[in-house]
Symmetry: C2
Subunit: 217 residues, 2 copies
C-alpha cells in the first residue's frame, strides 16, 4: 500500500520523564523539517514546543491523566484547561481504565465529555490502553469516546507492559469508530513498514517516538 504524504499522519512523540529542554528542541526541529502532523510532549514542555513550532504547520499535542488515567475528572479538567492555556493544540487523554474494565461506561463517557468541554474546541484523543482490555471493553471504550464527543480514539500510552498498537486492534477500533472519529495507532511503532500497515488497517494518525527521518519522505 502506498501512502501519499505519510508525514502528515505522524504525531512525533517524546514522553520519557528524563527528557530535557534540549531533547524537546531537537524533537520540534525534526518535526518541522519533516512536516509531521504534531509533536506529542509532556505538559511541562508545551510552552517550549509551542514557541519552537509557532511558524510551522506542526501542532502541539500533549497528554492528560497520563499514562495511568486514574485521576479524578476534576483533575483531568484542570489539567486540560491549564495545557490549552499554555498553547496545546491537541489533548491526548487516558480514560479511567478501571472504570471501563468494571463496565462503568457512563463514567468514562462523562469524563471524556468534561475533558472535551475543557479543551474548548481543540482536538481530544481518548487513549483506551487496549493491551489492558478485551474486545468487548474496547468496543465500550469507543462508544464512550464517541458519546463524550472526542475526535479520536487512540490505542496505547506506550507505557503498558503488555505493549501497544497491533494491526488487529487498529482494525477493530476503526470498525467500532466508523467514519465519525479518527483512530490513532501508538505504542511500539518503530518503522515505516509498521506505520503503513497501521494506516492500511484504518489508522488516521500514527504516534511514534522513533527518530525515523524516513517518515518525512
Amino acid at each position: 500500500m502506498t501512502i501519499p504524504n505519510i508525514a502528515s499522519y505522524i504525531d512525533y512523540t517524546l514522553l520519557k520523564p528524563a527528557a530535557t529542554a534540549r531533547d524537546i528542541d531537537a524533537l520540534c526541529k525534526t518535526a518541522a523539517r519533516a512536516g509531521f502532523a504534531a509533536v506529542c510532549v509532556n505538559g511541562i514542555w508545551v510552552e517550549r514546543a509551542t514557541e519552537a513550532l509557532h511558524d510551522t504547520t506542526v501542532s502541539v499535542a500533549t497528554v492528560v491523566g497520563f499514562p495511568l488515567g486514574a485521576d479524578p475528572v476534576a483533575v483531568k479538567v484542570a489539567e486540560t484547561e491549564d495545557l490549552v492555556r499554555r498553547g496545546a493544540d491537541e489533548i491526548d487523554m487516558v480514560i479511567s481504565i478501571g472504570h471501563l474494565v468494571a463496565g462503568d461506561i457512563d463514567y468514562v463517557a462523562n469524563e471524556v465529555r468534561n475533558v472535551v468541554h475543557a479543551a474548548k474546541g481543540h482536538v481530544v484523543k481518548t487513549i483506551l490502553e487496549t493491551a489492558a482490555l478485551d474486545n468487548v471493553q474496547i468496543e465500550a471504550g469507543v462508544r464512550a469516546a464517541r458519546a463524550g464527543g472526542a475526535q479520536f480514539v487512540k490505542t496505547s500510552t506506550g507505557f503498558h507492559p503488555k505493549g501497544g498498537a497491533t494491526r488487529e486492534v487498529v482494525a477493530l477500533l476503526s470498525k467500532f469508530a466508523g467514519p465519525a472519529i479518527g483512530v490513532k495507532a501508538s505504542g511500539g511503532i518503530k518503522d515505516l513498514e509498521t506505520a503503513r500497515h497501521m494506516i492500511a488497517a484504518g489508522a488516521t494518525r500514527i504516534g511514534t517516538s522513533t527518530d525515523l527521518t524516513e517518515f518525512g519522505s
Copy 2:
C-alpha cells in the same frame, strides 16, 4: 535485624491503572487488618479509600504527577489541592526528572515547595525515580526535596523500566537526607526479607504492592 512492628512501616500500594473499586476495597481491608501505615492509591480512589478507612489508623496516601513527573507546577498544585479536599492524608509527588537531570535544582525545589504549600500540612513525599539518576543527581534531588519542605524522599514510582529501590540507593538517600526527613523505599519490594534490608539501610517507610500478610506479623 529484627524490626519491631514492621507493619507500621508499610504503605500498601495499588496503582495499576486497571484496578477496580473492588480491588481498592480489598486493599483497604488488608491494610486495616494488618495495621499498615497507609494505603497508596491513585487519585480516583481517594474518596473510596478514605471512607473505607475512616475508623482505622491507616492513612490514605495518593500520587501527584505520577508516574512521569512531567506536569507543570500549576497542574501538580491543582491536583494536590483536589486530592487533599477528597481526604488524602499524604501526597507522593513525582519531581520533574528532566529538570533534575539537566541540573535545574531550583526548578525542582520550587515545585516541591508549591506542592507542600498546596498540601496544607499533610505529609509530602518526593519521588526521585532514582533508577533514572546518577549519584550526583540523587544528592541534588534530596537537597531540592529538603529545600522545598517535603517530609520524605522516596526512591521510585515502581513504573520505571530500570527498576525500583536498591539497598545501595536507600543508604545513599538516608545519608543525604539526614535525620530531618524520612526515606521511603519503593519499587520491587516483594518480601519481608527485602523490606527488612531496606529498613536496615535507612528506610523509614516501605512501599509494596505485594499481598504479604507476613508484613502484618
